[in-house]
């Protein structure tokens, strides 16, 4: 059981480390972004707490030291610099290493070295050292025995961000109306009512300024309020409530807790709230904390207005209440399930899909109407079940994209280039298994873009470009596939150099007549590399070949385009899922085969006159036709009218001649096992309703085969 908890911690920690990396990279481009800074701090804080709970003491101690420095950054005593970001990224990598390797003892020196660097960074001359926590009163919040809660200082920026995300933020509004507010026709109660309509609301009236009845003018207002509201509205909507009195009333709006703080379970200590409100000084708090008694009582004894304490306590209770609600809602709506369990579920759903197909076939010629109705209902339910189950495995590709920001950052530094990465369509979802297998190909492509594509700053300047190059990573849905494009605004591919290299590597002959497009495609040939110097980044001549194989093993395709001086683009087309696909069932002799439906453009008939033609005319264009009978060595007599399944893969369109098209088929993909692992042109098998097996055609490999055959024939 403990191991299970540890695994659960690891999973959570990996996610937090990914978020940490993204936030650090954002912070590097926008060092004043306090939201990202708070996110960095919270990630480190959460890892520290969980590590300690699950017995990862080394990680806990290490993150504690890093967190201490980050706290100083958050308090403004240590600036956000490139050096800090680099060091924190290194710390992030080190935590990852500790997690991966179960905290090996050998990691101690690396931890010490990093901690020493953090201390050095955080110890500017003239101020206290981080280890000693010496602070200047008023500049930094003292630690009152608890965790601080991520105060967002710029209420405007933070609140707008939260509002755009449609999630809740807790605000404090201090509202002091003018004495004669009734006389200008405004009822403060109506303003409070409007505030209460924005969300979860607590108001605390300050009655201490009401005089006794000898001095009271009952037509004046002696009251002021602290209003705490948790809302998904932005700060401007709160300001709008006070629109008609903001020139005569005193109104101050602060963010006291954002959704991240609530989810982290962090609530501020009463001392922090009072300090934020400006009703006590850091010095007074430190003195009170030293007395080891109830802080509130001591502060009141020392002169704090008890109304202020009461109001702060109510704010604390409000935030705790909202935090509990938010955490309960999250706990009630989300369940963490291991990927292995999901795989098991998909397997079971696959079995049900197969059984359902068999049932449908059995009742097809049955006269029992009730049985038919049940079978139809079962088919609908199976379809829904399949859809829901597959959607559970879908994860946004943005999680993978964010990793590449770090890759580009590190590569560009290594090569002395200036490169920024732009990502688009990160919300596009793909099966988790597909995403996992996309990582390495994408790393290869991006390394090539930065290494080969983007020029040095000097060369870019000479070419009239900005010194900073751009690598653009985008994802978008296209039918049952996702198209991922990696483009750069570098020098583009050189057809001449590719040709020369291909000849020198005997990939093509000297007299080969190839178009630029065909030359560009040679970068995917095994052993091809145009790099002048072999570096750690690229130029080993294996990258793009590996990419092609990996993408094709996913049932996808890869293409390249380029314009000299403008840039290059690699396009990957990937199926949404590898588990169950919509297929087109066809027959060849007595055998049955499945084409992935996503690849099919259309089906056309081939009559007797075209029966031997390797190319047929289709919609005014010549269409190469692959005789599947030959590929799969089918000897039975063909029908008079054959069908051509027209398939588009990457940038080629090819027809496949089959005997008969049976129709659409929900295809549960089964692996062929080790014996048939090297079988070309078949990517798997599926079980049909009658229990027979159909082979799933590997469209990409078949197309390549056909094109190679055609080229050789020419």
């Amino acid at each position: 059981m403990i191991d299970q908890f540890k695994e659960s911690f690891r999973d959570e920690a990996y996610e937090l480390l990914n978020s940490l990396e993204s936030s650090l990279l954002e912070l590097e481009t926008d060092p004043k972004n306090e939201g990202e800074l708070s996110a960095v701090f919270r990630s480190m804080h959460t890892i520290k707490g969980s590590a300690s709970m699950f017995g990862f003491q080394h990680i806990s101690r290490f993150t504690h030291e890093v967190e201490t420095v980050l706290d100083s950054v958050r308090n403004g005593t240590v600036p956000v610099t490139k050096q800090l970001i680099t060091l924190t990224l290194a710390a992030r990598d080190h935590i990852r290493f500790l997690l991966d390797n179960d905290e090996p003892e050998s990691a101690g020196p690396e931890s010490d070295s990093l901690i020493a660097q953090f201390h050095e960074l955080a110890a500017p001359s003239g101020s206290g050292t981080i280890a000693g926590q010496e602070t200047t009163p008023g500049e930094q919040s003292p630690d009152f025995g608890g965790d601080s809660g991520g105060v967002v200082k710029d209420a405007g920026a933070a609140s707008d961000r939260e509002s755009h995300r449609g999630i809740e933020t807790t605000y404090r509004v201090r509202f002091s109306p003018p004495r004669d507010i009734y006389r200008n026709g405004t009822n403060p109660l109506m303003l409070l009512k409007e505030m209460s309509e924005l969300g979860e609301f607590t108001s605390v009236a300050h009655v201490e300024n009401i005089p006794d009845m000898d001095d009271l003018d009952p037509e004046l207002c002696y009251l002021s309020w602290d209003i705490i509201v948790t809302t998904d509205k932005g700060i401007n909507e709160i300001r709008d409530v006070f629109m008609f009195v903001d020139d005569v009333a005193e109104i101050r709006i602060d963010v006291v807790a954002d959704i991240d703080a609530l989810l982290d379970g962090v609530t501020k200590k009463i001392g922090e709230i009072l300090l934020e409100r400006g009703v006590v000084t850091a010095d007074a708090l430190r003195r009170a904390a030293d007395r080891q008694q109830r802080l509130g009582r001591i502060l009141v004894e020392d002169g704090l207005d008890p109304h202020e304490l009461d109001s702060a306590l109510k704010e604390q209770r409000h935030v705790q209440r909202v935090r509990d609600r938010v955490q309960n809602e999250v706990a009630a709506t989300n369940v963490r399930v291991s990927a292995a369990k999901l795989d098991e579920l998909v397997d079971l759903v696959g079995e049900i899909v197969t059984l359902q197909a068999r049932l449908s076939q059995l009742v097809e010629h049955d006269t029992n109407a009730d049985l038919k109705t049940v079978a139809e209902g079962f088919e609908r339910a199976t379809d829904d079940l399949r859809g829901s189950t597959m959607s559970m495995r879908m994860v946004p590709i943005g999680t993978t994209f964010s990793k590449f920001k770090r890759l580009v950052r590190d590569l560009s530094e290594e090569l002395g280039k200036k490169v920024e990465i732009v990502t688009e369509g990160g919300e596009t979802e793909l099966d988790k298994t597909v995403i996992d297998r996309l990582n390495d190909p994408l790393v290869h492509i991006i390394r090539n873009s930065v290494g080969h594509g983007i020029e040095s700053p000097e060369a870019r300047k000479t070419a009239g470009k900005t010194e900073t190059g751009t690598v653009r990573l985008s994802a978008t849905h296209s039918g049952a596939s996702v198209v991922i494009s990696i483009s750069d605004d570098g020098a583009g591919l050189s057809a001449e150099r590719i040709r020369a290299k291909a000849i020198s590597r005997s990939i093509i002959t000297e007299d080969a007549q190839l178009t630029d497009k065909e030359l560009y495609d040679l970068i995917f040939a095994p052993g091809f590399s145009t790099a002048e110097n072999v570096t750690q980044v690229s130029g080993r001549g294996v990258g793009m070949d590996v990419v092609k194989q990996a993408i094709e093993s996913l049932g996808g395709s890869v293409g390249v385009s380029s314009e000299p001086g403008i840039g290059a683009r690699i396009t990957l087309s990937i199926p949404l899922t590898l588990a169950i696909i919509d297929g087109l069932l066809v027959e060849l002799g007595t055998g049955k085969y499945v084409f992935p439906l996503s690849a099919i453009e259309e089906c056309i008939e081939r009559t007797g006159s075209d029966s031997d033609a390797r190319m047929i005319s289709n919609r005014g264009e010549l269409l190469p036709v692959v005789e599947l009978r030959q590929v799969f060595a089918v000897n039975e007599t063909p029908p008079e009218i054959e069908q051509i399944v027209v398939v588009r893969s990457a940038e080629n369109t090819v027809g496949f001649a089959v005997d008969r098209v049976v129709g659409e088929h929900q295809t549960v993909i089964k692996s062929l096992g080790r014996v048939f692992r090297d079988l070309e042109c078949v990517s798997g098998a599926t079980i049909l309703g009658d229990g027979s097996v159909a082979l799933i055609v590997d469209v990409q490999r078949l197309t390549n085969l056909a094109l190679q055959f055609e080229t050789a024939r020419r």
């Binding site: 009734y182 009822n187 403060p188 109660l189 409070l192 009512k193 209460s196 607590t202 108001s203 605390v204 009236a205 009655v207 201490e208 009401i210 005089p211 006794d212 009845m213 000898d214 001095d215 009271l216 009952p218 037509e219 004046l220 207002c221 002696y222 009251l223 309020w225 602290d226 209003i227 008890p306 109304h307 009461d310 109510k314």
Partner: protein, 111 residues
């Protein structure tokens, strides 16, 4: 000799239009009696001017060694206003509860 306890029964809508009259009634009772009970049973609605009157009377009573108490059923409208205004943290049903709940309504803390 003045009554030891005097009840001031308030009723209707106690707003800024009526606040001077309300204050007058309570003042008169407090001057005359050591203990004044405000019967809130028939108050339908209140606004902030009533809250001012109530607190001002309480402060005066505390300063002059007198008692000001609340009694009777509290209408929903009254409790709602006091709640929204941040004078009580939860709705109450009767005057005694209201007295206990009202923020800083005891002599010890308000003065």
């Amino acid at each position: 000799m003045a009554d030891s306890v005097r009840v001031v029964a308030l009723s209707g809508d106690l707003t800024v239009e009526t606040c001077r009259d309300t204050l007058g009634m309570i003042r008169e009772a407090l001057i005359e009696s050591p203990t004044v009970v405000i019967d809130v049973n028939k108050i339908r609605t209140v606004d902030l001017s009533f809250v001012h009157v109530l607190y001002a009377a309480k402060k005066w009573a505390c300063r002059n060694g007198k008692r000001l108490e609340l009694a009777g059923e509290v209408a929903d409208g009254v409790a709602g206003t006091l709640c929204a205004g941040g004078f009580i943290s939860e709705r109450v049903n009767d005057g005694k509860q209201l007295e206990d709940q009202l923020l800083d309504f005891s002599c010890g803390e308000s003065n």
